[in-house]
Symmetry: C2
Subunit: 205 residues, 2 copies
Amino acid sequence: MVKKQKDQTTEQVILAAAKKVFVQKGMAGARMQDIADEAGINKALLHYYFRNKEKLFEVIFLEAAEKLFPKINAIFEADRPLFEKIENFCDEYISIVMDNPYLPLFVLNEINQDPEYFLKKVWAGKAKPNPVKFLEQMEKEVKKGTIKKINPMHLLMNLLSMTIFPFIAKPMFQKNLGMGEAQFRIAMEERKKEIPRFIIDSIKK
Amino acid sequence: MVKKQKDQTTEQVILAAAKKVFVQKGMAGARMQDIADEAGINKALLHYYFRNKEKLFEVIFLEAAEKLFPKINAIFEADRPLFEKIENFCDEYISIVMDNPYLPLFVLNEINQDPEYFLKKVWAGKAKPNPVKFLEQMEKEVKKGTIKKINPMHLLMNLLSMTIFPFIAKPMFQKNLGMGEAQFRIAMEERKKEIPRFIIDSIKK
DNA sequence: ATTTTTGTTAACCATTTGGTTAAATCGTAT
DNA sequence: ATACGATTTAACCAAATGGTTAACAAAAAT
């Protein structure tokens, strides 16, 4: 049960409980009763603060999405040398996700189950990622001759894959490689440097 | 609705329908009625063939897992040069997953929601992946001086990430990069060669 | 042909689940 | 104190959902 800290408002307690339950069980698997129990409150109180399950879910989901996507967008927008961008991205993104290791799977799973909802709710007015700048920067570097010829789309996929996937497959990696929580954290910490090195080694001439 | 082809047994029709519904909605979100409708049969008939939802799910889930994991295991076991292993893995694995693009997310998601179930059911008697051989092979190559010094665990994570993640983030990539179904297939087809090249460029001396 | 087994269905049942209501409690301004 | 709005709860409700039953149809065995 989520302990109600002093100065924590009931709404915050509910949100914390809802996040925990939704992220673990997903929209469909989550029970309003579970969330109420987790928050240590009556089920009716949930509906007092958030009209219904859908509304509550939306708050949690959007918060999660807002935590994950803007940072990805930033690697397109930033006005920095390519290699530096890559290094910054890995460092910052892994830091973010390490504090919320289950968010990526949660978000991607819900997107998968209803892509339209996501498209409408998350990328409605917000800045839909625009890869053009990143693409151009790649082209420029290729022409300058600083990096090998590579399809920017694949490079982007590689970068995102190596950064995010280990968190999505976390339980699998842990079970299979016999990693505990601490070892996993260490490994992810290492990847902040490992991934950029791996990428740069691959594309630099 | 799943059309009942001539010579398709009812059980197969049910399994096809169940797979479709389970993979799209997950265990919790799937409704027995949906599966029945999809299969074009009565709901009671589901329980005639498969005692209950859990049993039916187990069949689908295990089938999915069996399709995804043995191939991963093979890259550890195979007795081939490292670079060749990597090339083979990407080629074969992407081929498998292209025929079932939604399986990885489905399986990883369910594992995440109940890792113990997975551990017990899938890796019960079956060959639990054993990374030792792969690790040794890496060490050998490093000592031979054919590749750079790299932590095998990270290399493994990189390989699996780049191969699998694009399918997990498929809707996201499609929406964001404006890819249709065909373009996505083309991109994945490219990755069969792109990923090995990317990796080998990175680690070869 | 008829009995028996297998496959299939409509109707039904019990439980779960999201959501509502009306009463009670708490905090606070008067 | 007391009135009043905000907060919280117990009890309740209707719909959805997994599962069962008993009857019926089709196929196979006798």
